[in-house]
């Protein structure tokens, strides 16, 4: 992904312009000889005015590492960029003083310079034709350059049509404007503003729904710290849904894979057979407190639909579930369960007749009937406040993992793995570990028949930033922004977008997202059944597949937690079909 850094800011109105334009980074130049030099005190002041979503980079030329580290420590800057003759020793000394990202700049005049940059010990490299002159160098010199650790490289950008708007705002700066284009991800310090996760999130919905989401947000703010609401929810989660769910040590799997110790977080043991109930009970209670009498929901695999129908039955509410017609065929058992629970299931025939169309249809239904109806959205997606509400209700998963693992092992896991469609079980599994930097967070996307084919749903791997279903995030789309048809064997991961908080966690490099194909998922489905006697949902099998790849490469004393988001009864017929066997129940 391309990121933008505006460099050489010195005045309050530069910051105001940056806040409007929202680049990923701004740069303060601390090299006294530069005409864009800014004193540390002045920079601290400017940083205070800077929007929390924009990270500040300090630019230095042979500055003593102690001074650089002090600015990082004080939060005046979030990253350090070195432009002098700093060598490996220097970077090692600076590294000992700070864990913030370090960028080293190189002038590229020939292939040898590119190779030196390649060997840098810094987290990221910056390649330039001069000292931020804005002139482009021959990008062909970079052919064959393979940066380690996925660290980014920044190149000065040719002034093109895309940047005209930004340039206009930078009046009179001349060509030393130093607008740099960054590639790849790095550790920024984006702040989670209300409704925004970095640039992602927001409320891109019809005006008709605005008061409904504002009302929902207000109701949620009232309830989330209300002891009676929380007590009622906890009772339901424990007594009705069967929480806490088990954290099971998969001893046989651990032995077979011969690496890290593997724990399975058993969300499949919840009532209704998946993690979806955590969110649904919370939202249904919230809806009830808002005086709503009718729940509508979208569903892919049917797990969220079943959970919503269950909560509606329990609380005496009316329930309508929208489900892609294709999915009603793939998940016929769940359609029957929903009807048994008293819900109306509406097959959605538009578009690809899968999850995205079910979401669109549920949103359409909500615009036509708001007064008595709550849209019980099933994933960490859609307009604010849904991504936050659903995340908070699912965060119980990581809260329990943390406590259970402390009891069993006395420490944090080394990695947490979960499957990602919209991303609700994954964000629930990650949430309480986001601040624990030693814990790798790995989301497994559905690659379908492979990320190099059109039959994939791996949004992070093949998508780009867009606006759809109420949010800004990554989406699979064509060059004109038409949402692409996606495919996965798993109806629950068969979605062309991803929740905005995941998009942000990826942008800042805090979580990794890996594609897993149908074939790998089916093998993992069968593997877990055979090895541990647990049949996971085909969605969860994507996470199991990732664990099978990862665990053998890890040390025996390391710990991996895999979230089994749901149970796989619903998938047996589809997996049998995949293996060429036709089941008739």
């Amino acid at each position: 992904m391309t990121k933008i850094k505006l460099c050489g800011l010195t005045r309050r109105r530069d910051i105001e312009a940056a806040n409007r334009l929202a680049p990923e980074y701004v740069g303060f130049v601390f090299a006294p000889k530069s005409r864009r030099y800014v004193a540390p005190e002045r920079a601290a002041e400017l940083k205070g005015l800077l929007s929390p979503g924009v990270a500040a980079v300090g630019v230095f030329v042979n500055e003593p590492p102690e001074n650089v580290a002090a600015l990082l420590r004080r939060g005046v800057i979030d990253l350090a960029q070195l432009h002098g003759n700093e060598d490996g020793d220097y970077i090692a000394r600076l590294r000992a003083l700070t864990d913030k990202p370090i960028i080293q700049a190189f002038r590229v005049r020939g292939a040898r310079d590119a190779a030196a940059a390649e060997a840098s010990a810094a987290d990221h490299i910056l390649l330039d034709s001069g000292a931020g002159s804005g002139a482009a160098f021959d990008w062909g010199l970079l052919d064959g350059l393979q940066r380690r650790r996925g660290g980014g490289a920044a190149f000065p950008l040719r002034r093109g049509r895309e940047l005209r708007h930004r340039d206009r705002r930078r009046q009179g700066r001349g060509k030393n404007g130093g607008v740099c284009m960054r590639r790849e991800k790095e550790d920024g310090s984006m702040t989670n503003q209300k409704g925004r996760f970095g640039v992602h999130g927001g409320q891109y919905i019809p005006e008709t729904l605005m008061n409904a989401v504002i009302e929902l947000e207000a109701a949620y703010e009232r309830c989330k710290d209300d002891p009676s609401f929380n007590a009622e929810l906890e009772t339901l989660l424990n007594e009705y849904a069967g929480r806490p769910s088990r954290l099971y040590f998969a001893e046989k799997m651990t032995r077979e894979l011969g690496g890290a110790r593997i724990y399975l977080k058993r969300e499949d043991l919840n009532h209704t057979g998946a993690h979806k109930i955590n969110n649904v009970l919370g939202q249904a209670l919230l809806a009830k407190r808002m005086g709503k009498t009718r729940l509508i929901a979208e569903t892919g695999a049917g797990q969220h639909g079943v959970a919503t129908a269950t909560a509606a039955a329990l609380m005496g509410m009316e329930c309508v579930v929208f489900m892609g017609e294709e999915d009603t065929r793939r998940q016929a058992l769940n359609v029957y369960r929903m009807r048994l629970l008293g819900a109306e299931v509406v097959p959605v025939k538009t578009g690809t007749a899968t999850l995205k169309d079910a979401v669109s249809e549920a949103m359409r239904e909500w615009t036509s009937r708001i007064d008595d109806t709550h849209y019980c959205l099933g994933s960490v997606m859609g307009p604010h406040p849904f991504p936050t509400i659903v995340r908070d209700f699912q965060a119980v998963i990581s809260r329990e993992i943390k406590a259970q693992l402390r009891e069993k092992e006395g420490r944090l896991p080394d990695a947490v793995i979960a499957c990602v469609g919209g991303g609700s079980n994954a964000i629930g599994s990650f949430y309480h570990f986001i601040g624990e930097k030693s814990v790798r967070l790995i989301g497994c996307e559905a690659a379908g028949r492979g990320v190099d084919t059109f039959e994939t749903a791996a949004t992070m791997a093949v998508g780009r930033v867009g606006i759809f279903h109420g949010m800004k995030s990554y989406f699979c789309q064509d060059e004109f922004g038409q949402i692409a048809p996606v495919y996965s064997i798993s109806a629950g991961l068969d979605y062309p977008g991803v929740g905005p908080e995941h998009a942000w966690l990826r942008d800042i490099g805090r979580a990794e997202y890996v594609p897993v194909t149908d074939e790998e998922a089916v093998c993992a489905f069968e593997y877990l059944a055979r090895t541990e006697g647990i049949i996971p949902a085909i969605e969860s099998a994507h996470a199991v597949a990732c664990a099978r790849r990862l665990a053998p490469e890890m040390a025996k004393e390391q710990i991996v937690v895999v979230t089994i988001s749901g149970r796989g009864d619903k998938d047996c017929a589809a997996v049998a079909r995949y293996r060429g066997e036709d089941l008739h129940e």
């Binding site: 409007r20 895309e162 708007h165 891109y204 019809p206 005006e207 605005m210």
Partner: protein
């Protein structure tokens, strides 16, 4: 004064909506010309989107037919450039945020300015998110049209105060599509809006008959019709232009009597 104001300068306005490329761009060109010749005061041109969440089945169908025919944003820009050689009525694009975002807001809006598009309607861009595109709209002299809905209530004044071009008043809850009756108290909404803005108010969603159009034009400054026209296109296909022309004439006559 924005060019859109001229659409409301000759009495009550009739505003037809046409999805570009349904069933093909030649038909769209013929239909736009027929609408303009028969009294359309402003024409909304839909750029199709794969997943139009604010549309009912009729316009959803038009979007999918157009995309299946291979229409793209660039081809629609070329169509409008060609139409602008003889069509002078104000034109606005109606599409979804991702179409503009994906193209690049500045690139999209500078193209609008260059080919002579006067405004932009994005049903999935509420007041809270309009900064996404407003600076680029302003820089290129394209009006970003605001919508108010029956549920807007306390938000009407806020939206109206900052509205540009014309204020699009959504007649009913739900998605686009013809309705046998419109129950919303639109006169009250228009009254609140007019207390906060000088720009014209036009009512859309659900209008299909001349009687409905006249009733809407009686409380506002114009009526917008989409699905009823798309139905003619779906029925007559490439031969739709004269039928749309006749329909536009009957609707313009009706709003003129309001």
């Amino acid at each position: 004064m924005s060019n859109i104001r001229t659409a409301f300068a000759r009495g009550k306005a009739f505003i037809p909506f046409i999805t570009c490329g349904d069933p093909d761009l030649e038909t769209t060109a013929a239909v736009v010309r027929a609408a303009a010749e028969n009294g359309a005061d402003l024409i909304e041109l839909g750029i199709p989107f794969s997943d139009p969440t604010a549309e009912g089945p009729v316009i959803q169908g038009a979007n999918l037919r157009a995309l299946a025919g291979g229409v793209t944003t660039d081809k629609i820009f070329a169509l409008v450039r060609e139409l602008r050689r003889d069509v002078t009525v104000p034109l606005v694009f109606m599409t979804y945020a991702n179409v503009v975002f994906s193209y690049g807001a500045e690139r999209f809006l500078s193209a609008c300015a260059e080919i002579g598009v006067d405004g932009l309607i994005l049903p999935d861009l509420p007041f809270e998110e309009k900064e996404e595109f407003l600076p680029q709209c302003r820089a290129n002299g394209v009006d970003l049209i605001s919508l108010v809905a029956p549920t807007s209530e306390n938000r009407i004044a806020m939206i109206a105060r900052e509205a540009e071009g014309f204020l699009y008043i959504v007649s009913s809850l739900g998605v686009t599509g013809t309705r046998s009756e419109i129950k919303t108290d639109l006169a009250s909404i228009v009254r609140v809006a007019r207390a906060h803005t000088e720009i014209p108010c036009a009512i859309g969603f659900g209008i299909s008959t001349p009687e409905q159009a006249r009733a809407m034009a009686a409380v506002a400054d114009g009526a917008i019709v989409g699905s009823a026209i798309i139905k003619l296109l779906a029925h007559y296909g490439r031969d739709a232009a004269p039928h749309v022309g006749a329909y536009v004439k009957s609707m313009k006559d009706a709003v003129s009597r309001a």
